[in-house]
């Protein structure tokens, strides 16, 4: 029997995107952390401003793990509930990365580039998730 897209509802592009996103996020986390350390050494970075930036970064890391896990599980098992939950967590991640892009104490050019790529990945992911949910529900 030939597997065709009509009997398999799991989205392959979404799965690939999850995989890539996971790897990219690890790189993004380490790079942003290193840049915050660099900023605190080179610029004047009082503790009042350093604490929120670090908190946002670690919160985003903590959100990322369940987000990717639920997304993978939902996509592979064709469960819309898990995928929907993952979509909700994506919204939170988007908000946090917008903070890192625009409201950080010091936004370096490298920050802008990396976060923009991350946001682009989130956007693409969200679109594919919506399509997958639509496919599962119907």
């Amino acid at each position: 029997r030939v597997l065709n897209s009509s009997s398999q509802l799991s989205s392959l592009p979404l799965q690939i995107l999850f995989y890539v996103n996971g790897i990219y996020y690890i790189f993004y986390f380490l790079a942003t952390l290193a840049m915050i350390v660099y900023k605190s050494q080179v610029f004047s970075y009082p503790d009042d401003f350093l604490a929120p930036d670090l908190a946002v970064l670690f919160l985003m890391a903590m959100l990322e793990v369940p987000r990717l896990y639920l997304g993978c599980k939902g996509n592979l098992r064709e469960e819309e509930a898990a995928l929907g939950l993952s979509l909700g967590l994506t919204v939170g991640s988007v908000v946090l990365s917008v903070y890192l892009l625009a409201w950080q104490t010091y936004v370096l050019w490298a920050d802008v580039v990396l976060t923009a790529v991350l946001l682009g990945a989130y956007g693409l992911e969200s679109g594919l998730k919506v399509m997958a949910i639509a496919a599962f529900v119907s």
Binding site: S44, L108, W109
Partner: protein
């Protein structure tokens, strides 16, 4: 006038706004309304003045170089044109680095913050933040350090060091002393090991004499001294009662506290003098404290009395010998001297008899003290102690008549110059103990006789005319806190022949006595830590199997 004052106050209350426009910023514009030389951004310069410049001292004015994109004002001189003219360009400067600042949400990041102007509301906060010796740019992170360096708790006392105020239960051991004027101030603390004696005037009145604290014995002994572990109470050593005409009697039974009381028109038992004696150990702990009082009476007419206070510190188990320094001599304190007792053997022996010291001023190192009459024979033995570091010269005039005989005259003059008992040893340190014989320097005696060549054949007796003591001292110890140490004492006696005078004539010759202190310190040698050595050793079997 009130309006201008108010307006000036209003202007002074706010600092001028900071200039951040690069086109208007000029760092080299120092002279107001005048053109600064070679300053291309100076707005006071005219084009004719620009043509005289040779170069631009400030070529570029920009903001923070870390910014990705910013405006920059570029000034340059076009020397090709005739006349040379200044070129001003406003360009966009781009920082190509990937770590350039794209945006920042922290206002103080890029420019200095305008300082807060003090107002009556925020003055206390500003004083707390900036009033100390140093303050951090980010005061929030500095709070941790200031908490750690709290001043030591008043209850736990460390060992006392020289000069540290002696602490009691409430504040310090007070030694009232005159400050600025002669009136007593009770805020003078007694320093540990600092022997002090002060006299001051206190205003009194008979009606209020029971309420004036400072006339009451209790004021001086009620708080106990905080020693290292214990609290030492101040005991009453003795009470001397001084009557109105000045006669003093020692009271037997000094345990009774005598408080001021008004009787007839007198106030009795008023404190006229306190003498504290503190006993300490060699580790700096106070173990005993005693106070000796002089009580007196004041009459109704007396508006003020003079009180005298004294404090002295003695080490436990030692007889109090006044030190002249600890350990090095202190300038102005007497040079300590002494004798060795009879039968003092050679320096190589170790069974020494202690040097006989006494505080009797006649056996201290002293020189002749000049008297107003300046007559040597009527000098009456007035002597001045030799104080360390003070070069002194004194003398007298000797009137020689024909009837004087040389030998007794020479002996008398020797007594006048040297004193009754001239010591043999001088302490090399200010705190040398009599038991440490090696700490004492023997006095070397030199004799110079001025003999005239024509009288070489006559061996007439000589009379001393000059006695000079030269004390050589050196700086000893560390560079930071050098101590004075006497190394050598030489006493030079100069004698001259006495010419016989024809009868009826008399002659006056001056006799001098002097003390000179010479510093023979060698230059300090800095001491360095040993250079680190490289200690390379190969393992035992490094060349296996060849060795």
């Amino acid at each position: 006038p009130a309006d201008t004052r108010g307006a000036a106050q209003a202007r002074a209350c706010s600092a001028p706004a900071p200039v951040t426009d690069v086109a208007r910023l000029c760092v080299c514009d120092l002279l107001v309304a005048q053109c600064d030389v070679n300053c291309c951004c100076d707005p006071d310069c005219s084009p004719e003045e620009f043509s005289l410049f040779t170069a631009c001292s400030v070529p570029v004015v920009t903001g923070d170089s870390h910014l990705c994109r910013q405006k920059a004002a570029v000034y340059s001189l076009d020397v090709e044109a005739n006349p040379p003219e200044r070129i001003f360009q406003l360009i966009d400067q781009v920082n190509p680095s990937i770590f350039c600042i794209h945006a920042t949400n922290y206002k103080q990041a890029l420019h200095l913050r305008s300082p807060e102007m003090p107002t009556p509301e925020n003055f206390d906060d500003l004083l707390n933040e900036f009033g100390s010796v140093a303050f951090n740019a980010e005061p929030e992170s500095w709070n941790v350090d200031t908490d750690a360096s709290d001043p030591p708790d008043a209850n736990e006392t460390q060992r006392y060091e020289y000069g540290v105020p002696v602490q009691t239960e409430d504040a310090f051991l007070r030694l009232p002393s005159p400050v600025v004027s002669s009136w007593c101030s009770d805020a003078n603390p007694a320093g540990f090991l600092v022997n002090q004696a002060t006299k001051c005037i206190r205003s009194v009145s008979v009606e209020k004499c029971e309420s004036i604290q400072a006339l009451n014995m209790l004021f001086y002994i009620n708080s106990s001294i905080l020693a290292f572990v214990f609290q030492v109470n101040i005991s009453v050593q003795s009470i001397v009662v001084q009557s109105l005409d000045g006669m003093r009697t020692l009271l037997k039974g000094a345990d009774v506290l005598r408080l001021p009381m008004i009787l007839d028109e007198l106030c009795l038992n008023v404190v006229l003098g306190v003498s504290y004696h503190i006993t300490y150990t060699d580790t700096g702990e106070i173990i005993e404290a005693a106070a000796a009082f002089v009580l007196g009476a004041i009459t109704k007419e007396a508006l003020s009395i003079q009180q005298s206070f004294q404090i002295s510190f003695t080490q436990v188990d030692t007889k109090p010998v006044p030190l002249s320094g600890n350990p090095g001599y202190v300038v102005g304190l007497p040079v300590r001297a002494g004798f060795s007792p009879q039968g003092y053997p050679f320096p190589a022996e170790f069974l020494f008899a202690a040097l006989a010291l006494s505080t009797n001023k006649h056996s201290q190192l002293s020189i002749l003290q000049s008297t107003p009459t300046q007559d040597c024979l009527a000098a009456q033995g007035a002597r001045a102690p030799v104080l360390f570091g003070y070069n002194m010269i004194s003398g007298c005039k000797l009137r020689i008549t024909a009837a004087m005989r040389c030998q007794p005259l020479a002996q008398t003059l020797l007594d006048v110059l040297k004193g009754q008992s001239f010591p043999e040893y001088v302490a090399s340190f200010g705190n040398s103990q009599a038991q440490d014989v090696l700490d004492w320097v023997p006095i070397t005696h030199l004799h110079i006789s001025e003999q005239r060549i024509s009288n070489a054949l006559q061996s007439s007796c000589q009379i001393p005319v000059s006695f000079g003591i030269e004390v050589k001292w050196t700086k000893y110890g560390s560079l930071v806190n050098p101590q004075a140490r006497i190394v050598n004492v030489t006493a030079t006696l100069t004698t001259t022949t006495l010419k016989q005078l024809p009868s009826g004539r008399e002659r006056t010759i001056p006799i001098t006595s002097s003390v000179v202190f010479t510093d023979i310190s060698s230059p300090a040698e800095p001491g360095y830590k040993a250079w680190p050595t490289i200690n390379i050793r190969l393992p035992f079997d490094f060349f296996y199997p060849f060795v």
